[in-house]
Every structure is written in C-alpha cells, then in structure tokens.
C-alpha cells in the first residue's frame, strides 16, 4: 500500500495540462509510444528522442544476446533426463552449477561486445560454447574428467580466437570487427558483419526445418534488410559470394568448422539438431513414464 500511496500522490501532481506542460502526454499517446507505434517523426513534440530510444531498446537481437542457447538447452536436457531417470541416477544428472556459470561468462563476453558490430568475435564464441555444451552432454552420462576444465578456456578464448580461423574467405577480418566492437561505437559499416553473420546462419539452417525455425528472429532482421522475406535468398547470396550450402548443417558438430561455419549462429541449431534427434527420438515413445 505504501508505495502505491506515494504514486497516487504523484499522479495527482503530474502535470497533464498541455498549456502548462509542453511535455504532457495523453494516455493514448503513452500507449502508442510504448508499443513502438510512433516513429520519431510521429512522436509528439519533445518525444522524438524517446521514440528513437524505445525503438533501439526493442531492436532485433544481437548475436551476443543469443549466444547462450546451447547452455539453456543443456540445462533442459539435464532436467528432462533427471525427471525420467530412476532416483539413484538423478543426483548426477544436473550439470554442476559452475559449468552453467562458465557458460554465462561466455555469453557475457558476447553480450559485452556491443551493438552487434563484432559478429566475427561473437561468431567465434559459438564454437567454444558448443564445445562446452558437448562436454556437458558427455558429463551428464557420468564421468567429469575433461569437462570440468572446459568452462575456463572458452570464457577467455573468444578475443584471442577471433584471429584464428578467420582465414575463411569473405567478410572483414575478424580482428577488424572485434576492434570495432570494442571501440567507441561502430560507425555505419557495423551493420554489415552483423548481416553477414545472419546470412551465414540463415543459409546454414536453410536445409533443415529446425535451423530455419531457430533462426526465425535472425530471419526477420534479414528480411528487413533485404526488403522482404522473399528477397533474403538473393540478398544473402550477394552478400556472401561463396555462400554455404545447406548440407553443412547435416554434419556432426564435431567436424572441422569450415570457414562459413565459424561465424553466425548456424552453430547452435546444428549442435541442437544432433541433440534433438538423440534425446527426443529415443525417450519419446516411453515418455508417459513421467
């Protein structure tokens, strides 16, 4: 009750009269601003920057923000298995917390690279993430030998790794992109590596229904850049002259990552793909056990 009372008092004091307050807003205008229905041009006087800010706050996800999927799925896998497993196995089934935190650290590095500019860097994150996810998978079954050290390296590796597999064909050298991400703000070209990464993810996932669905958000962003969903193919082929073929997606994730795969988010869906088949198809029929 207390805080509410204060706010009620505030509301009564809130200047709503346009004559006395140039920034007064109608309730309906507030709703439209919040819903992103007003572009900076359409926003009421004094609110153009607010409209711009709210649009930025709801911009398409960056790679960094989507870097932790493998970890979330590993958690799901562990919990699902634990539910189905007999009680005596259950204790071992959850990956120890510190691994989860290690993965969060990996994702954090990705997210800290700002503005989606440093896709090359975050793209490199995916493989370490995948490695850790795989090690979790292996560990869930029992032993925890090599896996216990796994979270360490990936957390610190991305920055240095960025220079590694970058030999792959097109696009700006990873180091350049990484610098841009770390620097003040990526200027206009910052958008390009991002779209390249998305294109790679899109093309990599195109072969499998799964990849396509998981990349839905990326696809929206691409469609916007390309000028429509049906333009995405051509747009990506232009952007990535040596574009990947969908078959890539069918390879087991342990295969050497070709130049295309080092980047973008073709990664998580592909490792997920393997996982899904393994876990879902076998316990599926017996799942009522739960």
């Amino acid at each position: 009750m207390g805080p509410d009372d204060a706010s009620w008092a505030e509301m009564r004091r809130l200047p709503l009269d346009p004559d006395t307050d140039p920034l007064a807003l109608e309730d309906e205008t507030v709703e439209r601003l919040l819903a992103g229905e007003l572009s900076p041009d359409q926003a009421p006087p004094g609110y153009a920057e607010v409209a711009e800010l709210l649009a930025a706050a709801t911009a398409a996800p960056t790679h960094g923000e989507l870097a932790g999927q493998a970890a979330a799925l590993a958690e799901l896998r562990a919990v699902t298995r634990a539910r189905r497993a007999p009680a005596h196995v259950r204790r071992a089934a959850r990956p120890p917390r510190r691994r989860w935190v290690g993965l969060a650290a990996v994702a954090l590095v990705g997210a800290l690279v700002t503005g989606g500019a440093a896709v090359a860097a975050t793209g490199q994150l995916l493989e370490p993430v995948r490695e850790v996810a795989r090690s979790i998978l292996d560990t869930v079954g029992g032993a925890d030998s090599a896996a216990s050290t796994a979270p360490g390296p990936p957390a610190s590796a991305p920055a240095t790794r960025a220079a590694g597999p970058g030999g792959g064909g097109q696009g700006p050298p990873p180091t350049a992109a990484a610098d841009r991400g770390r620097g003040t703000t990526g200027a206009a070209p910052g958008a390009n590596p991002d779209l390249e990464g998305l294109c790679q993810a899109y093309l990599a996932g195109k072969g499998s229904e799964q990849g396509r669905k998981l990349a839905a958000t990326a696809f929206e962003a691409l469609a916007r850049a390309a000028g429509g969903p049906d333009q995405v193919d051509a747009y990506c082929q232009d952007l990535l002259p040596g574009a990947a073929k969908p078959e890539k997606e069918q390879n087991p994730p342990s295969d050497d990552q070709g130049q295309e795969h080092g980047q973008g988010q073709g990664g998580p869906p592909s490792s997920t793909g393997g996982g899904t088949e393994r876990t879902v198809s076998s316990p599926g029929p017996s799942s009522p056990a739960r």
Binding site: L53, A55, A56, A57, L66, Q69, A72, R83
Partner: protein
C-alpha cells in the same frame, strides 16, 4: 512472438523437445537479458541463466497462453532480480558493470552517436538511469511487451501506479534526452 503454434511449441518444450524449447528461448532470451540490463546490469547474464533454469524446472506445470507464458517468465525473472537486489544490498560495491554501461551512453564521438542513433545497450543504459520503479515499469512494458495488468502483477503494484510510473518515466526521458539533443546541436 511465436503465434498460433505456441500451444504445440509449449507442450513440446515441456516434454523436453529442444527445438521447441529453443524457439521459446530464442523469442524471450533477448528480452530477459534486456530487462536485467536495466534492473540489475551487473548480473544480467547470470540472472538470465537463473531465470531459464526456473523456466526449465517449471515449464512442465505451466498452463496458459503465450502472453501468459511471457508474463510467467518475467515473474521468474523479477524474483531473480529481487533476490539479487537483496544480496547486492549487502555488498554495496557491485556497481562496476553499471559504470561500464554508462561509458557507452556517452560515446567518444557524440556526432557519430547522433547519426547512428542509439545502440540497444546504450538505450537500456539510459532507461536504467531513471528511478528504479519507473525504469522497471518501462522495460516490462516496452521490452518484455507486457500489458499494464501483467506488469502490475509482476511488480506487485496497482495498474494505475504502473501507468503513472511509465508516464513519468517517459516524461523524464524526454526531458533528459531533449536537453542532451539541444546540447549536441549547440556544440
């Protein structure tokens, strides 16, 4: 938004289907991260992970529509945030990450920033400078995409209070950003 497929996706995810869960995650994780970037930026990644852990554990029992699911996820997220605020209150020196964010609000080259517009992180950092309840109400409305009543329930406030908080928050943002824009024009 997942849309008409949501019920099927939800029940598949609840059975442990990773593709389905991946879709839910993909849809909500950026929003969850951005929520935490505003309400507890020093621990955003960890708290998002904890939130998904809560989702994984509870999804089997969840019943409801997509908007309700979204509100449920943010209910879990807020519990994580509240826990973290309590813990942080006992260790008051944990504000380093906020400083990191603030650097991005004031980039080295304001002209470039003006041309480029706001990056998402900078935008969230600006929202985070509002009084905490205004910032939270705005981020839940805008970024999480929740209705007033859902936000009210999550924040444990009345719907009218949420309206006032968002209104005041927007107004304050307009004041602040307007001043900033005027300064930029003068410089």
């Amino acid at each position: 938004m997942i849309g008409p497929e949501f019920p099927a996706v939800l029940s598949a995810a609840a059975r442990g289907d990773e593709e389905a869960f991946g879709r839910l995650w993909h849809d909500l994780q950026p929003r969850v991260l951005r929520y935490f970037a505003v309400v507890s930026p020093a621990a955003a990644e960890d708290l998002a992970s904890e939130t998904w852990l809560g989702v994984v554990r509870g999804i089997e029992r969840f019943r409801g529509t997509e908007p309700a699911f979204r509100a449920w996820v943010f209910t879990i997220a807020r519990h994580e945030a509240v826990d973290w605020w309590r813990r942080a209150a006992r260790r008051p020196t944990e504000n380093l990450a906020v400083d990191g964010l603030m650097e991005q609000v004031a980039p080295d080259d304001p002209a470039a920033a003006a041309v480029e517009g706001f990056s998402t992180r900078a935008a969230l950092a600006v929202v985070a400078t509002l009084p905490a309840d205004q910032a939270e109400a705005i981020v839940l409305r805008v970024v999480a995409g929740l209705e007033v009543n859902q936000v009210a329930e999550i924040m444990d406030r009345r719907p009218n209070t949420v309206r006032v908080l968002t209104h005041r928050g927007l107004r304050r943002l307009a004041e602040r950003l307007g001043d900033d824009a005027r300064i930029r024009r003068v410089v």
